[in-house]
């Protein structure tokens, strides 16, 4: 029996299996175990969470392979890791390490200011950030098997993730009402591949899973993003920058499953301790906004 590996179906399929779940940023094997114990459906292995990357400044790169391998050893759930935008060699290294998903991420300093990674060339699947439908479809065109909002990472402020999710959803709704003869011009306007635009019109959603990311800090934030149409949640700094990571992580997992039940949300939101300190987006200079990275 001949087997085929690294196909579009298995790449996209893993993201389907993550739906309705929470993917948590972790920097140590201990944090990874807490995340798994709390019910994370995957972890993102990092050297620093986005809030610390933002505070440290300088060039942020792929994590040390030792950090990633130790986290892979610590848990049985999928482990993701980040490569810089356009840095296909970091991606090759992550694939060689055997990570389950690569995030070509604006949280790290871009390695290429014009081109993203050709993700079709890899057996390992990729997730990419997007602020609007055109950006999402460009990334899918390059081979991304999963999309997430960019939000504004490391801020504990959900406002940008909300903006990006609403934007994608409203563009999809607009597209569904267009007659076929207007699709090419729509594709031109949003700078997206025509075939994918046609597919979105037929499906009424993106052709891959679409998660929310960037600034989610509370169970209510997670449920808000789910009600706006997210398929699942990434929490970066929000868990391990809070005062009681285990409790908050469990609460966000429960809120992501029961996002339409306010009485469950009320229950799990009780006594969570301090959330991570938040940042007002207006205080971040335009050139320091991570969401502006990506083309």
């Amino acid at each position: 029996m001949a087997t085929e590996k690294g196909t579009w179906t298995v790449k996209k399929g893993l993201a389907e299996m993550l739906k309705g779940g929470v993917i948590m940023d972790v920097t140590t094997p201990e944090q990874a175990k807490i995340a798994e114990e709390a019910g994370a459906c995957a972890v993102m292995a990092l050297e620093r969470v986005p809030a610390d990357i933002r505070a440290a400044g300088g060039v942020a790169r792929m994590a040390d392979p030792t950090v990633i391998l130790r986290i892979m050893d610590a848990v049985t759930i999928p482990v993701m890791a980040k490569a810089r935008i356009g840095h296909f060699v970091e991606a090759q290294i992550l694939e060689a390490l055997g990570v389950d998903y690569i995030d070509e991420s604006e949280v790290l300093t871009p390695a290429d200011e014009e081109f993203h990674i050709n993700k079709h060339e890899f057996k390992v699947p990729f997730v990419c950030g997007a602020r609007n439908l055109g950006e999402a479809l460009r990334r899918i065109g390059e081979g991304a098997a999963m999309i997430r909002t960019k939000g504004e990472p490391g801020t504990g402020n959900v406002v940008e993730a909300v903006r990006h999710m609403r934007r994608v959803m409203s563009e999809i709704r607009r597209l569904q009402n267009l007659p076929d003869e207007e699709l090419m011009t729509f594709a031109k306007e949003i700078q997206a591949p025509y075939e994918l635009v046609k597919q979105v019109k037929e499906l009424g959603r993106l052709p891959v899973v679409n998660f929310a990311a960037g600034g989610i800090a509370t169970p209510a934030d997670a449920a808000l993003m789910m009600q706006l149409g997210a398929d699942g949640i990434f929490v970066g700094s929000g868990i391990f920058k809070s005062s009681d990571p285990m409790k908050r992580a469990r609460a966000i997992v429960a809120a992501t499953t029961h996002f339409r039940e306010p009485e469950v949300l009320a229950e799990v939101s009780k006594d969570l301790g301090e959330a991570m300190p938040g940042l007002d987006i207006a205080t971040i200079r335009q050139e320091e906004r991570m969401q502006e990275r990506g083309w």
Partner: protein
């Protein structure tokens, strides 16, 4: 006929679409009260540790065990197979633990080893079933009354025990509806 699809986390949307393609209503199950009035239950792929913990926190393990004991058919795919197994090798994670099988999680390797293959499944007829395996488990041991329905590389990847059915692969990710149809026939 109404089939519940456990919707704690994972690929429940795809199972509901497969059921719809067979003209059967699928409903999302997140709370105990939603189990009322269903004729069968699908436990989808996803992360078995996540789904199991949420089933504990929201009190679904015991009610589902009772329905299964009363004869209601259950069908688990991938994580669902893990949750149906009595023995999960090297893990004490929460589970339904109903099938007399021993399951190895992530048995074929990590995501880069996930694969598609044409599988011989005698109970579905002669034509092979195109099976999608994603960080899939297999059954290391299958003891009566459980029986193996399909193997790959010498390991059981589909098994049945009376009203319980489990696959290591994802029939909900392809358009071949034979596994779902086989499950629905267990209900009639």
């Amino acid at each position: 006929m109404k089939i519940g699809v456990l919707a704690m986390q994972g690929a429940f949307r795809e199972h509901i679409a497969s059921l719809a393609a067979l003209g059967v209503e699928g409903v999302e199950i997140r709370r105990e009260r939603q189990l009322e009035g269903i004729d069968g239950l699908i436990i989808p792929g996803g992360e078995s540790t996540t789904i199991g913990k949420l089933m504990v926190d929201f009190n679904l393990l015991e009610p589902i065990r009772e329905l299964a004991a009363a004869g209601m058919p259950l069908f688990g795919t991938c994580a669902g197979m893990v949750l149906l197994a009595r023995d999960i090798i090297g893990s004490d994670q929460p589970r339904l633990g109903l099938m007399h099988v021993s399951v190895q999680r992530n048995a074929f390797g990590r995501q880069v080893d996930s694969f598609e293959v044409d599988l011989e499944i005698p109970v579905l007829g002669e034509e092979p079933f195109h099976a999608v395996f994603i960080r899939a488990p297999y059954l290391e041991r299958v003891e009566p009354p459980a029986e193996s329905l399909a193997t790959f590389m010498g390991k059981t990847v589909m098994a049945r025990q009376g009203n319980l059915l489990a696959t290591a692969f994802h029939p909900e990710l392809t358009n071949d509806l034979r596994v779902h149809r086989y499950f629905l026939e267990m209900i009639k």
